[in-house]
Assembly symmetry: C2
Homo-oligomer: 237 residues x 2
Amino acid sequence: MKAFLAAIGSNGQSCADCLVRPFSICASLDKTEMQEFERLSRHAHFAPCETVFAEEEMAISFYNLIEGVMRLYKLLPDGRRQIVGFALPGDFLGMTASGRNAFSADAINAVAVCRFSKVSFQRFAEDKPHLLRRINEFAIRELSQAREHMVLLGRRSAEEKVATFLVSWRDRLARQNGASATLPLPMSRQDIADYLGLTIETVSRTFTKLERVGVIEIISGGVRLLDPARAEALAAA
Amino acid sequence: MKAFLAAIGSNGQSCADCLVRPFSICASLDKTEMQEFERLSRHAHFAPCETVFAEEEMAISFYNLIEGVMRLYKLLPDGRRQIVGFALPGDFLGMTASGRNAFSADAINAVAVCRFSKVSFQRFAEDKPHLLRRINEFAIRELSQAREHMVLLGRRSAEEKVATFLVSWRDRLARQNGASATLPLPMSRQDIADYLGLTIETVSRTFTKLERVGVIEIISGGVRLLDPARAEALAAA
DNA sequence: CGGTACATTGAGAGATATCAACAGGCGTGG
DNA sequence: CCACGCCTGTTGATATCTCTCAATGTACCG
């Protein structure tokens, strides 16, 4: 299962053989731009649970996630946590409205990123409308995901939340690896709970329930989607 | 109270005396660009409860909201509704990832918009990186609001939700009209409930409770914030 | 083999939803 | 100008879902 997720992404040193390029903002760059762009970037690696950046911190870098999964979250003063998204290879992080990060980002498993200083990135992007448009598309896609998630958080039951999560996680992974009934879930139950606005116990119970009715099989490090049609129905659109 | 909200925005025919320009994407345009831009736009008016555009519909226009308040919402197949935001004068609507609207938009009170066909807008914006960047900023700001709202939906109690809503609604209005203890609430209790992921009864009870403890006074068409500090404390950051 | 962190399961409490009745404001029409 | 009806909002009683607290189980790692 680990190998499965590790297969997403690239350990290559060069953009030329970067496996996530087609999914990343870099896909908008031509060969020459790419070479210039490559010189601006530094690879960085993070171990599981390491923090890549924290909320409220000055945001001085952009990141292209090239390998691994990250959790993006916000904390309330009393420690309650809401995970606002999981980042997968190809995702672009670091855009802010205020200059400070709007959320924190941790590595869930081993993570590799391309890091760019904002100033050099912005100088590079300045006169490249195609890159700006691509970044804009990414922002709009995230916005659309965020709104979809608001519906989940505000209006769905626990069962619908979990089913929706599994189905859309499958769909996201499928875009990179092709379809599979076996879903790796590198994040903990607590992460899933904080993503869905539930407690860990409710998530656990709901998983068990879905297994009992034959929709999923709980396996080490993930689940197998035994009855995807049923799961989609439970997700209620 | 109606006059209060109507004062936001402009009935003027020309961009030159448009009151929302400094808040809108137009602020990034110089005088010449503005004049060209003006020729691309058509004013349109919507009566309370009229739908400006609907989810899933092909999105062929962009909109600058210049007067009034709109509710932006998504529906589940069984009719459950989640309001993903309220739009105020200056807000820019119509960006999509897929070409289809990700949500529906209704006028709450009398609404005036500048409407642009996407094709002419995109032709106009093509070689204007400053406009692209401005639009990008708007998208990122919305993204940041969306994530803040996820925290509210997933992790806050009813009382915290209502208090947070009142405080941030006040702050949004203050940005346009200056601070005031009197908050117009042009949206219905049902709208507020669907925004906060609650039922109308819970919203009503919570308003009453906040009034009983002296935090607000419920008045026709809105509330008066009697104890803003207390409201902020109840909002839990 | 024991410890620790994570996950599951159970019992009970509590917050919010649901169902139902009532009140108040506003416009309409007599 | 008043009465009626409708729509929105409020309040109450009860139900239910999810949370909380607690115990047990399980996998991984030293």
